[in-house]
Amino acid sequence: MLGRTASSLYWMSRYHERAQNIARMLEVANRSTMVAHGTLSSIDDWRVALLSSGCDLGYQAKIGDVSPRGVTSYMIFDKDNPSSVRVCLEQARNNARSVRTGITAELWEAINTTWIEFADVNPQSITQDRLPEFLSWISQRSHLFRGALLNTVLRDDGYHFSQLGNFVERADNTARVLNTQYWVLLPDSDVIGDGSMERHQWTGILRALSGRRSYRFAYPKARLTAFNIAEFLILRKEMPRSLAYCYDWIDDVSDDLAQFYGGRQPSLDMAADIWRTLCQTEMRDIYQNGLHDFLTDFIGRNNAFSHQLSKDYNFA
């Protein structure tokens, strides 16, 4: 397989995953504008969306004041925002197009149709009352992409690279969402005030990582606590967006890739190291050493893995 092909499959998946994550962050911010929650202004929720997606600096430079309209248009439609849904879907499609020969017709149709339909949408037509429906459409299309990929693609090296891209992006996203509001997840925050503000922020984080419902099943008897939420999103393997789940998957895929190629490259060992760390760590330890430091360190290691992977397999 060409190094460029591996790179395209990796980035195709990363961009599609990112589009979905952005849509979900906006869903959370938009929802909070409809719910009363004490002293917190809903503008803060839009600011959180900008911060978690890494769009804050670009937004400041181009738009300035944070407003619902400004943030949605910047994060969905802006061509100058490298993480806007538009740019993600276009990049995903361009990457898919450049490996048209390496993907199935079903997968191509899912990606291509998503892009065509998205490009047909007039940004002006997405008013606030149409926003939830539109954001959920983006998520649906991303699920369709992943479904087509999992159901039709041959389990060869190309598949492995696509999975690595998918879960490196997801792990990065989860870690960033947590890190942006890490103080909300500190154990002390259980006791400040009457707890309504925290509850609002906690459910926001859970929703941003589609864990609102599943939390209830993972912790059937417990109420919402910072400890449980952090553990759920970092260490619980049942949670498909947790860091542990992502690296469980990455580690499996790394082994498959090593077997496919008959040898391990340095990047695969890095992945195994990260996975081992997550397995051997308990939530208590993370709090002891500092949640923020843990997350920052994780984001760095996840990134370093991605870099080494590009080097090892000649991504062009």
């Binding site: 397989m1 060409l2 190094g3 460029r4 092909t5 591996a6 361009n94 197009r97 450049s98 490996v99 048209r100 020969t101 017709a105 191509w108 149709e109 291509n112 149709t113 065509i116 090296d157 690279f161 190629y261 397999y313 000649n314 062009a316």
Partner: protein
């Protein structure tokens, strides 16, 4: 003169009766409700768009992707018509390859005085770097698309030979797939020669011209300029259906005179490159130095006999519009036979008496740029306005050597789905020919159709569409 001259109707004869090859199609068309074709056309468009069968249009700010309009009514050729055409094409492509070998070696045809030396040696498309080099099997143009037009029952003309990187074959294949999906019943009542073997034939052709014939497995790749190229879909389609890698220049590198591709593992040597980029961009070291599309050192690897490039660099001279007028001589010179297919009579505006005639008859003839393609920079006298003709006259007199002219041919017309129903529209035909260990011609080819009433311009960049082309078996 009006554009509404008499033309050959391929479906109906002068009394309005369907010709034998079209009789079943004609009955079938008459049996369908009025909206039927409109609905089917829409269906086809959705299929094409979802599959990403698009081409890019240059000239606008961003190269945008568009669909080539697809006409759902097939064009039909009888077995005997096809036999004559394919024999003529076979003769022509063999002669052109012999010509290429000759002009890059002993230049017998020039010595024999059958073609002016300047016309070959001073031609921009003549590549001095190719002199003395012999590609595998002495084949230069491996993939040719011969553009044909029909003016009467038994009268076909060759318009162009397209010996560089002819495109359109993916449309030939996808058109057929779409037709079979939409109208299975039509295929049950006709015996249509298949086109689905083209990718296999292409791969066989490419493998047969590997630099080292002893090697049991040849690594073949398709070289594309990338996703922004107008024919990118076709490049991907061909690589995919042949089961070979689709590479860009940056995926290849030359080491010790051999060509390799960068893979996720060890570099892999490449034997045959089906390139879809022009000569000038192939190798920045040998040709255009600022080209980002090519591979540094590729041409040296080629000359060292370590890789085959298809089509060979320098084949463009064989479809140069100034050389075109000599193709009948070329055929006679190398095959000793009369040409089976006619050339369109051509005036060479570089010649004074030809230019005088052309200037006197601008309103009736077609004038083309010698090096132009895609239907740009040409004048179609009968459909041009007085002002357009006056403007073109200025351009032509300023640089006559840049132009040739031909009579306006009354292109044949085929039944076509239009807003008002079914009406005749003018068509041409591009059969696809492969030359390697043998000459392989896929029955049919790509029919392009001018969708506007009376229009003779079939180019997709100028609003033309395509049709599935059927060759009926006996």
């Amino acid at each position: 003169m009006s554009a509404e001259r008499t033309f050959f109707n391929e479906m109906l004869d002068q009394s309005g009766q369907p010709r034998p090859a079209y009789s079943k199609l004609n009955d079938w068309l008459e049996s369908k409700p009025p909206n039927f074709l409109t609905r089917k056309s829409r269906e086809a468009e959705t299929i094409f768009r979802r599959l990403g069968i698009t081409f890019a249009v240059y000239g606008s700010d961003e190269a945008t992707e568009r669909l080539i309009p697809f006409d759902p009514i097939p064009r039909i050729l009888s077995a005997s018509e096809w036999r004559k055409l394919s024999t003529g094409i076979d003769q022509r492509v063999r002669a052109l390859n012999a010509f290429l070998h000759d002009i890059y070696h002993r230049q017998e045809i020039i010595r024999a005085g059958r073609i002016p030396a300047d016309l070959v040696l001073q031609n921009e498309a003549f590549l001095p770097e190719m002199v003395g080099f012999t590609p595998a099997r002495k084949v230069y143009a491996h993939i040719i698309g011969t553009d044909l037009v029909r003016v009467a029952e038994n009268e076909f003309y060759v318009l162009e030979d397209n010996t560089r990187t002819p495109s359109g074959v993916s449309y030939m294949m996808e058109n057929r797939e779409t037709m079979m999906r939409m109208f299975p019943e039509l295929f049950q009542i006709h015996r249509v020669a298949p086109v689905e073997h083209y990718p296999e034939a292409l791969r066989q052709t490419l493998e047969s011209v590997g630099p080292d014939p002893a090697k049991s497995e040849q690594t073949v790749v398709v070289l594309t300029p990338g996703i922004y190229n107008s024919a990118y879909f076709e490049h991907a389609f061909l690589a995919d259906s042949m089961g070979v890698e689709l590479v860009e220049g940056r995926d290849l590198f030359v080491d010790e005179g051999k060509v390799f591709m960068r893979t996720t593992r060890d570099p892999q040597q490449v034997d045959v490159i089906y390139r879809r980029i022009d000569d000038a961009f192939l190798d920045p070291l040998s040709f255009q130095p600022d080209s980002m599309l090519g591979v540094p050192g590729l041409f040296d690897a080629y000359r060292a006999g370590n890789v085959t490039i298809c089509n060979a660099p320098g084949t463009g001279i064989a479809d140069d519009k100034a050389i075109y007028a000599y193709v009948p001589d070329i055929i006679e010179f190398y095959t000793g036979q009369k040409p089976i297919l006619n050339n369109v009579p051509t005036w060479n505006c570089a010649r004074e008496e030809d230019l005088a005639y052309v200037l006197d008859n601008l309103a009736d003839i077609v004038v083309k740029e010698v090096h132009g393609s895609g239907g740009y920079g040409m004048l179609i006298g009968p459909t041009a306005s007085k002002r357009q003709i006056a403007e073109f006259r200025k351009i032509l007199t300023a640089n006559p050597g840049n132009y040739i002219a031909q009579p306006t041919l009354a292109l044949s017309a085929c039944p076509t789905h239009v807003a008002t129903g079914v009406a005749p529209r003018h068509v041409d035909l591009r059969p696809f020919v492969l030359i390697g260990d043998q000459v392989r011609i896929t029955p049919g080819g790509l029919t392009r159709v001018a969708l506007k009433k009376g229009s003779l311009v079939v180019n997709s960049s100028q609003g033309g569409g395509t049709k599935d082309t059927w060759v009926l078996e006996d």
